[in-house]
């Protein structure tokens, strides 16, 4: 059961320090990319999940996977607002449902270039539905029926002509920014205004979705089922949390794909660097391997020792990679989401992301060490002692 003492391999790493540093940096760079991607993805997940509510129902066109793709006519909107008994009524007896129009438009960024920004036309009821989740933080709310807009706080520092008091050109109409609001998640990166005025300006005769307050245990599938044979409309109904989760999952997949691909390519490079470093180490220490074997260490003990040394290299690289991304913790950044509009979110280096990265680094170390360690373990003692 005896293995080669660990300090032999640890100290050997320090002795060949330049080769060790090189390998650790190669692994570290890979891990920084991976940890960075995971942290971005975590930031995304938090952005979308933190505000998903189960007592908000979304009605969209059957088959639409996001509100950007959805279209509901005004008649259909009226039917849904009035006909669905699950929708809660306010003190005045009006259904708490609001038709919204959603579209991404190209706007200029402060740092040059353009980006897609989500424009949402809303009805006064929208604010009642969101309650305290949407708050005016600066200026005032827009007056219904006018060309006034309010801007999500996430856009204030990023998009030109979006400060309170600015005029913003949308298509051929000029809108005036009268306030800023903060909301949960993605709403912070949207521009809101009167739904009818924005529809006119953007020449969109249809609405994107109906947002409605329901009781949290309302059976949304049953609502959709009632319209199965209805010729007027066949809505898709889901609660806000499920909707956001579905939006995040496609983003997550994309992130994981890009990040995973990059990490894989860099990982292959790191594995080669590691293998090379270990092969050089074993070549230089052939005589030492011979001594260990002569003393009585078995082939598998030699294998474990050198695999362990490579694992250690990988772990060191993993720690370095994580240290590289830690300073980015909390940094805000923007990207384009699946509805092609600008969203800002924070970089979140969670323990889980760090752990995943370290495990990946350990994997790189092991994969890079297998061939050299195998070679070391297969040498016969006489071969090893003769070449020294």
């Amino acid at each position: 059961m005896a293995i080669v003492p660990l300090q032999y391999n640890v100290r050997s790493l320090f002795v060949r320090s330049s080769s060790t540093i090189l390998t650790v940096l190669a692994v570290g760079a890979t891990i920084a990319v991976l940890a960075g991607m995971l942290s971005l993805q975590q930031g995304f997940a938090v952005l979308f999940q933190e505000r998903g509510r189960t007592d908000l129902a979304l009605f969209m066109r059957q088959g639409a996977t996001s509100e950007g793709e959805s279209g509901i006519t005004l008649e259909q909107c009226n039917i849904l607002k009035k006909e669905v008994p699950e929708v809660i009524r306010d003190d005045g007896g009006r259904p708490m449902a609001s038709a919204e129009m959603f579209l991404a438009v190209r706007l200029r960024k402060f740092d040059g270039g353009e980006t897609n920004v989500a424009i949402r036309g809303v009805e006064p009821m929208t604010f009642a539905i969101h309650g305290d989740d949407v708050v005016i933080t600066e200026g005032e709310n827009f007056t219904p029926g006018t060309d006034e807009l309010i801007v999500g706080v996430g856009l204030l520092e990023r998009i030109a002509n979006c400060r309170v008091g600015d005029n913003l050109q949308i298509n051929t109409s000029t809108f005036r920014i009268v306030g800023a609001f903060s909301g949960k998640g993605g709403y912070r990166s949207e521009i809101w205004g009167d739904v009818d005025r924005l529809s006119d300006a953007l020449e969109r005769p249809v609405r994107s979705r109906i947002l409605a307050r329901v009781s949290p245990d309302a059976d949304l599938d049953a609502i959709a089922a009632r319209y199965d044979d209805d010729l007027r409309l066949q809505p898709k109904v889901m609660n806000e949390r499920d909707y956001l989760a579905s939006q995040t999952s496609s983003l997550t997949t994309r992130f994981m794909f890009v990040g995973g691909f990059l990490a894989l390519i860099m990982g292959i490079g790191a594995v080669f660097t590691g293998t090379n470093s270990m092969l050089a180490a074993i070549g230089a220490r052939t005589h030492e391997i011979g001594i260990l074997k002569a003393v009585g260490y078995k082939p598998w003990a030699i294998f474990v020792a050198f695999l362990g040394e490579s694992l250690l290299l990988g772990l060191l690289g993993g720690v370095v990679g994580c240290l590289l991304v830690l300073p980015l913790q909390g940094a805000e950044t923007g990207t384009v989401n699946s509805t092609f509009s600008e969203v800002t979110f924070a970089f979140r280096t969670t323990p889980a992301a760090m752990l995943t990265s370290i495990l990946f680094a350990a994997g790189l170390g092991i994969v890079g060490g297998v061939v050299p360690a195998w070679r070391a373990s297969r040498m016969t003692p006489t071969q090893a002692l003769r070449r020294g």
Binding site: A294, Y297, T380
Partner: protein, 235 residues
């Protein structure tokens, strides 16, 4: 218990570039237990090869290699490794030690393979180092030791597990006369006081005089075995 060594028609060949070189040819050799042997012969005569077979570092193509009660020919490579850790200690010409480990850690290497507690291991390593007169160099790394001291640490490692057989391949080849004499004296003491069976390869006739008997090897064949009537040093 001291071990005797018995070789019967041992053959060992190496093939190099399609050619087969018969290094040991049907060699028969009997060595008594608790005796100090010197092994001499021209370069390339197969001395190291013979030593490696006796030490279980390599295996014969044919024949019997018996050390104590064990027939090494019948063992697998990992069984041989285990056998080595318990029954033989090696001292090579130079570079015997792992450079990143201290003298004590080097001596502990074979002890890690034995079922010992941490404290027993330490004690046994320290005792071995005391025996070779290096108790005060325990925490030194090999590069902080002289050539002679390095060889003495190697001897300490070879005896740390208290094996019956010590095999030394030109242990004084790199040392000056006085240092060599000290190392040879130490080997002889291990034989006289601890009754180790010792087989030492050497090119130096004067080194051979420390042994009880000198075996001569030439082109894979055994020559005469001399008795050294008056060992040097007079102890």
């Amino acid at each position: 218990m001291p071990a005797a060594i018995r070789l019967r028609s041992v053959t060992k060949s190496y093939s190099k570039g399609g050619q087969t070189l018969r290094v040991l040819d049907e060699l028969d050799l009997d060595m008594d237990a608790a005796t100090f042997y010197a092994l001499m012969g021209p370069s390339g005569s197969g001395k190291t090869t013979l030593l490696n077979l006796v030490g279980g570092l390599d295996q014969a193509d044919e024949g019997v290699v018996q050390v104590g009660d064990e027939d090494l020919a019948a063992m697998q490579s990992s069984e041989l490794a285990e056998w080595r850790s318990e029954h033989v200690g090696f001292v090579f010409q130079g570079f015997n030690l792992l450079p990143v480990l201290s003298a004590r850690e080097n001596v502990e290497l074979p002890l890690l393979l034995a079922p010992l507690s941490r404290r027993q291991r330490r004690q046994q390593a320290e005792r071995a180092l005391e025996l070779v007169g290096l108790a005060d160099r325990m925490n030194h790394k090999p590069r902080e030791l002289s050539g002679g001291q390095e060889q003495r640490v190697a001897i300490a490692r070879a005896i740390a597990t208290d094996p019956q057989v010590i095999l030394a391949d030109e242990p004084t080849g790199d040392l000056d006369r006085d240092t060599a004499d000290a190392v040879l004296e130490m080997l002889r003491r291990l034989n006289r006081e601890l009754h180790k069976t010792i087989l030492m390869v050497t090119h130096d006739p004067q080194a051979a005089t420390y042994a009880d008997k000198t075996i001569h090897l030439d082109k894979g064949k055994l020559g005469r075995i001399e008795e050294n009537a008056t060992p040097t040093g007079g102890s």
